[in-house]
């Protein structure tokens, strides 16, 4: 059996009296697309921030590629990237300039070729010279995805990557992620509020509620466990429970 690329053990994050992530443990295999699902405030984004080293856990451990994130941050993050609807990139730089800066930050070689490739892959070649400030939200999302793919990561964290995209582009992005997984064996941790997308994309889903894992498995297994028709019904049931609590 292949060793997991990501192992999270007993991860906790408390902000004062509030527990955002509560004793969460999971792992991700090479080439796996793992869905992280849950209502707003369930702890998805805090978990991703901890995996990226942006927030220090209160307790627990994070290991990637067999290394502890707390002690091997630099080595690990060279092989990891992320994209989120909630981030931006320097607005006064062109699309191409932003990608060049990222490539230099990660110490990449042959930058011009890589930038060309990724612009083509994300179908934003014509935006190359466009100043980032003038991009639509969908174009900006594609730029942050281009940034994430540019560094050829082994693990990719995507926080609602298709939230601001039209259905056509969103479909293309999903196809691109599947193709990347097939061709390079990249592992992807994925969050979305689109249940159909989660079902389509994820090999396995972790369902978070109030910081705890309440279900884990395929979309079908989770729906069966809660006695619901599909993932969307499970989501609605848990979200309402969470809101009423």
């Amino acid at each position: 059996m292949t060793a997991p690329v990501l192992q999270v053990a007993n991860l906790c994050k408390r902000f004062g009296d509030f527990t955002a992530v509560d004793d969460v443990s999971f792992s991700m295999r090479p080439g796996e697309i793992l869905g992280l699902l849950g209502p707003n405030g369930a702890g998805k984004t805090t978990t991703i921030h901890m995996l990226l080293g942006l927030i220090t856990p209160t307790a627990g451990s994070i290991r990637m590629f067999g290394l502890d994130l707390a002690t091997h941050r630099e080595t690990i993050l060279e092989r990891v990237n992320f994209s989120s609807t909630y981030i931006s990139m320097p607005q006064s730089l062109t699309v191409e300039e932003n990608l060049w800066v990222v490539a230099r930050l990660y110490g990449m070689a042959d930058i011009a070729r890589r930038v060309d490739q990724v612009l083509k892959k994300l179908e934003i070649e014509e935006l190359r010279q466009k100043v980032t400030r003038h991009l639509s939200s969908g174009q900006l999302t594609r730029l942050t995805l281009a940034k994430a793919f540019l560094t050829e990561p082994k693990v990719l964290f995507l926080d609602e990557p298709t939230a601001s995209l039209d259905p056509d582009i969103a479909q293309k992005i999903r196809a691109l992620l599947k193709e990347a997984r097939r061709s390079s064996g990249i592992s992807i941790l994925y969050t979305s509020h689109n249940m159909r997308e989660m079902e389509e994309m994820s090999d396995r889903i972790i369902f978070l509620q109030r910081g705890k894992i309440v279900a884990e498995g395929t979309a079908r297994q989770i729906a069966d466990r809660f006695g619901q028709a599909d993932l969307e019904e499970v989501f609605l049931k848990l979200a309402r429970e969470s809101r009423d609590a």
Partner: protein, 263 residues
């Protein structure tokens, strides 16, 4: 420390500045305006009180050196704020970039800004007032070096505060340095200060540099002792604020503040 990551951040600022006229203007506009206004006031006072020898030399020299400190400080704080405004801190600190590399890049940016400002102010002083700041001689080198270091000290301290308290503290990027101006004794000797304030000036490296400047322009001997004080204090303060920065960085990561700066 990886040089390619420091260069990446510098490249990002070069891209930014070459396309942004307001940002370029900001580097040159205030120093130029300072020099013009205070230069003419100085000329007027020098004429009215001709018994004050070297008044122009003191005042304009001090003004130019003070602006170098100010730009050095801004090189650090504005570089950090550029990332806050661009909501780019997450991209940077989720990459292999180390906090020390980030600081190194901002320090290099501050050297770039100080160089630009120095050239403009020295030339303007020469053209408008026939004042040659280079008459300070080789002492100018350690003076400027220490003022740049002092700018870094205030800049790193201010950056830590903005990181800790969020964007609402960004006004400090412009105002913090002026808190140090009265005890830097830029335009007057240290003994003008009230007795209770003098110990504070004594532990301010900039005050020793401006005392040294007056000594040189008065031909009152080499400012060796003042420079020793300035180097010693700057060394201590720089180590202290860098440790403070790392501590604040860790605090912000522990309290989830790093991902919220700029929200």
């Amino acid at each position: 420390m990886k040089l390619h990551r420091v260069i990446a951040l510098l490249t990002r600022h070069v891209y930014l500045y070459r396309r942004s006229l307001p940002r370029i203007m900001e580097i040159f506009y205030w120093p130029f305006l300072d020099l013009v206004i205070w230069g003419f006031i100085t000329l007027y006072l020098a004429r009215a009180q001709s018994h004050l020898p070297g008044f122009v030399a003191f005042f304009l020299g001090a003004l130019i050196l003070w602006d170098m400190l100010f730009r050095s400080h801004q090189g650090i704080t504005i570089s950090f704020l550029e990332e806050v405004w661009a909501r780019n801190l997450m991209n940077l600190f989720a990459s292999p970039l180390k906090p020390g590399e980030f600081l190194a890049a901002t320090m290099l940016m501050s050297i770039f800004k100080v160089t630009c400002v120095s050239v403009v102010m020295i030339l303007c002083a020469l053209v408008f007032y026939s004042y040659n700041v280079l008459m300070i001689g080789l002492w100018l080198i350690p003076f400027v070096f220490n003022l740049v270091l002092m700018g870094w000290v205030i800049g790193v301290f201010t950056t830590s505060l903005i990181m800790r308290f969020g964007q609402e503290a960004e006004v400090l990027a412009w105002s913090m340095v002026f808190l140090f101006q009265p005890i830097s004794c830029v335009f007057y000797p240290m003994d003008i200060l009230p007795r209770w304030l003098q110990p504070l000036a004594m532990i301010n490296p900039a005050a020793h540099i401006f005392e040294g400047l007056r000594a040189v322009l008065n031909a009152a001997g080499a400012p060796g002792q003042e420079l020793l004080w300035a180097f010693g204090l700057n060394g201590l303060l720089l180590v202290a604020v860098i440790m403070w920065f790392y501590r604040t960085f860790a605090y912000c990561k522990a309290h989830g503040l790093l991902v919220r700066v700029g929200e």
